[in-house]
């Protein structure tokens, strides 16, 4: 504490302590001398006269001793008188010193009183200021409290508003999300429906196509059989052609089955009559059966004529 104070004051600690003790000593001395002042100066006179002899035998020794004592008394008295004088003088100095001290003390007392007063005054001022400050602080606090409250209220309002807004927004978002989800779901559903229908249509088309293919295959079989039948019926094989003789006949036909050209090639095992017979077979069958479906029509036909057993 002291160190901190010294430190704060920036004074050397030793000189501060010395000054403090000196002041305290002075103050103590002044206070002590002022309280003992009347008694000690009267008491010694009375005590000496009242000391009287009480026994005769002892009186002679006593008288002698008194005589000696008288002499000593005289010497003593002389010494006492001298002492008295010095004491008186000292008393006088002391008195003077005391007066000085008393004046000093008074002065100090006054100063202290002034100081106390000033301090009180100062304390009062401080107190006042403190009160004022407290009041101000209170006001401030109150104000702040109010402000806080207001702010709190505002904040709450704001929060509420925000909350409301948020809720609203959330709701909106939710709504929007829901709407979007709905739309998405709807779109997805529509898409799926569309895909399903498309698939269905495709399937139906495929089935139709397959049916058509089957139909075409049937027609194709019938068609080829009809051509074969017609040509076969018209094939008059010349006598004496051996088994295994064969010819390829390349035929071009018009859409109605009209034979446009016949080319006989790669004949083996036969003769001219044989190759003529296969050419004739095609010409005799002219017009060939009409294709039951345009897709079955082939402009070019190849006939493999073979003599079988």
């Amino acid at each position: 504490m002291t160190g901190l104070l010294l430190k704060l004051m920036g004074w050397p600690p030793f000189s501060m302590l010395a000054s403090l003790f000196l002041h305290a000593g002075v103050v103590a001395l002044l206070l002590f001398s002022l309280s003992q002042d009347p008694a000690p100066l009267k008491t010694p006179d009375t005590d000496v006269i009242k000391a009287v002899v009480v026994d005769d035998g002892k009186v002679k020794a006593e008288l002698e001793r008194i005589k000696k004592a008288e002499r000593r008394k005289q010497l003593k008295q002389k010494k006492a008188k001298k002492e008295l004088q010095r004491i008186q003088q000292q008393k006088k100095r002391e008195k003077k010193k005391l007066a000085e001290l008393k004046r000093k003390r008074l002065k100090e007392k006054q100063r202290l009183k002034d100081d106390k007063k000033a301090a009180s005054k100062k304390r009062e001022a401080i107190k006042k200021a403190q009160a004022k400050e407290t009041k101000r602080l209170a006001t401030l606090k109150k104000k702040r409290k109010e402000e806080t409250k207001r702010l709190e209220k505002q904040r709450k309002t704001e929060a509420k508003r925000l909350e409301k807004q948020r809720a609203k927004r959330k709701l909106e978002q939710e709504k929007k999300r829901k709407a979007e989800a709905d739309a998405k779901r709807k779109a997805q559903k529509a898409k799926e429906e569309k895909a399903r229908r498309a698939a269905l249509r495709k399937q139906m088309e495929a089935e139709e196509s397959a049916e058509r293919q089957r139909d075409l295959a049937r027609k194709s079989t019938t068609y080829i059989a009809a051509i074969r039948n017609d040509v076969q019926r018209n094939w008059r094989r010349p006598p004496g052609i051996k088994t295994g003789a064969s010819c390829k006949v390349y035929v071009t036909q018009a859409t109605g089955g009209t034979v446009l050209s016949v080319r006989v090639s790669s004949c083996t095992g036969g003769n001219t009559a044989f190759s003529k017979s296969v050419e004739k077979a095609v010409y005799k069958a002219d017009p060939l059966p009409r294709a039951p479906d345009p897709s079955l029509f082939d402009r070019e036909l190849v006939f493999d004529f073979t003599v079988k057993e």
């Binding site: 495709k202 051509i227 094989r237 006598p239 004496g240 001219t272 010409y283 036909l301 493999d304």
Partner: protein
């Protein structure tokens, strides 16, 4: 799923043009064997009086004899066109006719004739169809104007038959070739033998040789200029070679005993003959120009009736060295003879087809003798005839027919049979026995 469909669609798209380009392939295996339905319209005679010759009839007979044509009867005809411009092909189509022959005979200068004929394929047509195209021209397979004298008219008809036959079969016609044969006529005490040469249908015969003694085994030289034959003039057998055109002849072999079965080498320079100078019949080869003879067979059995293989290197002959007559082959220079026939107990009188692939023979298996053919590569034997005494087979030079002798109502007659044995026709010749036919080669 969608992808699959798309892929399938794509495949379909890819496949379609491919399948559209694919050519429809149709197999035909069940044709009916049959002759070509042919109509020959009687030729118009554009002169006065009776037509000089029935050309259409000659052609019809020629073609019918081959067994390859079915002649449509005239009474069925819906029209009688005489040239292409008059033909309505649909009329013939209706009759099922495949080919049509029309023609006319016109008088030309100097009493000669002009024979015109056209052969049509009823069904043929060109790629360009339309009213503008000349259908008759497209359908015409052949068409000629043939000048002829009156006596050439039959020959001209055969020539037309040759053209038609070749056009329709691809095989050279042999109707203008001739046949040689021997006739016997007269009573037992007054027999008259004659070597005749006639058209392939037996018409227009002319006599090469007349003799009171038998004439046998006429053989045409492959060049068609000479005929070798056996004549028993003076009651002994001799082999003569006679020039067909001039009638000049030369006796080439007159040994003691048998001089028989002359057959020409392919180059027409040598003859294979049968001689019995050594006691029994053996085969010899004789150089016609020098008359030098070489013995080919050395056997105690009868070896006879040799013919030359088409490579001119071997002979095929009849021998009974196995006990019964069978056919054998032996190199011209001699050597081991190899037996060829094993079916039946009698096989003799070999005759080669012109292509050398088929051998005709007289075949006996217990019930008479028939004409059979054997495939040289497979040895497959086919009996063609069903007579009791069929003999002397001879191939037409185009190999489509075989002429042979047989008896009909106690008389010797000639039959022409198609090589498949399906068509058989008796040649209408003059009275008397007819035997030993020999079909000529193609005339140059």
């Amino acid at each position: 799923m969608g992808k699959v469909i798309r892929t399938l669609g794509l495949l379909t798209i890819i496949c379609l043009p491919w399948s559209a380009q694919a050519v429809l392939n149709i197999e035909i295996t069940e044709g009916v064997e049959g002759e070509t339905p042919l109509a020959i319209v009687p030729f118009a005679w554009e002169g006065k009086g009776k037509p000089p010759e029935n050309i259409a009839a000659i052609i019809s007979n020629d073609l019918a004899r081959t067994g390859l044509f079915r002649l449509i009867a005239e009474k069925k005809f819906l029209e009688h066109p005489h040239h292409g411009g008059e033909v309505n092909f649909d009329n013939w189509r209706t009759l099922g006719v495949e080919d049509l022959v029309v023609g006319r005979i016109r008088l030309a200068a100097n009493g000669r004739y002009l024979v015109q004929f056209q052969l049509f394929d009823i069904y043929r047509k060109s790629g360009a169809v339309g009213p503008g195209s000349d259908d008759a021209q497209i359908k015409q397979l052949a068409g000629y104007n043939l000048p002829a004298s009156k006596k050439d008219l039959r020959r001209t008809a055969h020539y037309i038959s040759d053209i038609i036959f070749e056009k329709l079969t691809g095989i050279r016609g042999a109707f203008t070739t001739r046949i040689a044969y021997v006739t016997a006529s007269g009573s037992k005490d007054n027999k008259q033998y004659s070597l005749q040469i006639a058209d392939s249908d037996g018409h227009n015969p002319f006599t090469v040789l007349k003799s009171p003694e038998p004439i046998m085994s006429p053989a045409w030289s492959p060049d068609g200029n000479k005929i070798a034959y056996v004549s028993f003039e003076g009651r002994k057998s001799s082999i003569y070679v006679q020039d067909v055109a001039t009638g000049q002849r030369k006796r080439v072999s007159s040994h003691k005993g048998i001089n028989g079965s002359p057959a020409w080498s392919i180059d027409s320079k040598r003859l294979s003959i049968t001689l019995s100078t050594n006691g029994n019949s053996d085969i010899y080869i004789m150089d016609v120009a020098s008359g030098r003879k070489t013995r080919v067979t050395h056997n105690t059995a009868i070896d006879t009736e040799a013919v030359w293989t088409p490579d001119n290197r071997s002979l095929i002959f009849t021998s009974d060295r196995s006990g019964r007559p069978q056919l054998y082959r032996i190199p011209v220079r001699g050597g081991r003879a190899k037996r060829l026939t094993f079916e039946g107990n009698y096989n003799s009188r070999a005759a080669f087809s012109p292509d050398g692939k088929t051998l005709a023979m007289v075949h006996g298996s217990g019930s008479g003798f028939q004409i059979a053919t054997m495939q040289m590569d497979s040895g497959e034997l086919t009996v063609l005839t069903n007579g009791r005494l069929d003999e002397s087979p001879t191939f037409a030079p185009n190999g489509t027919m075989i002429l042979y002798a047989t008896s009909y109502k106690g008389k010797g007659v000639l039959y022409a049979i198609s090589v498949d044995g399906k068509a058989r026709q008796r040649l209408l010749l003059q009275d008397g026995d007819v035997r030993e036919p020999a079909w000529s080669p193609f005339t140059q």
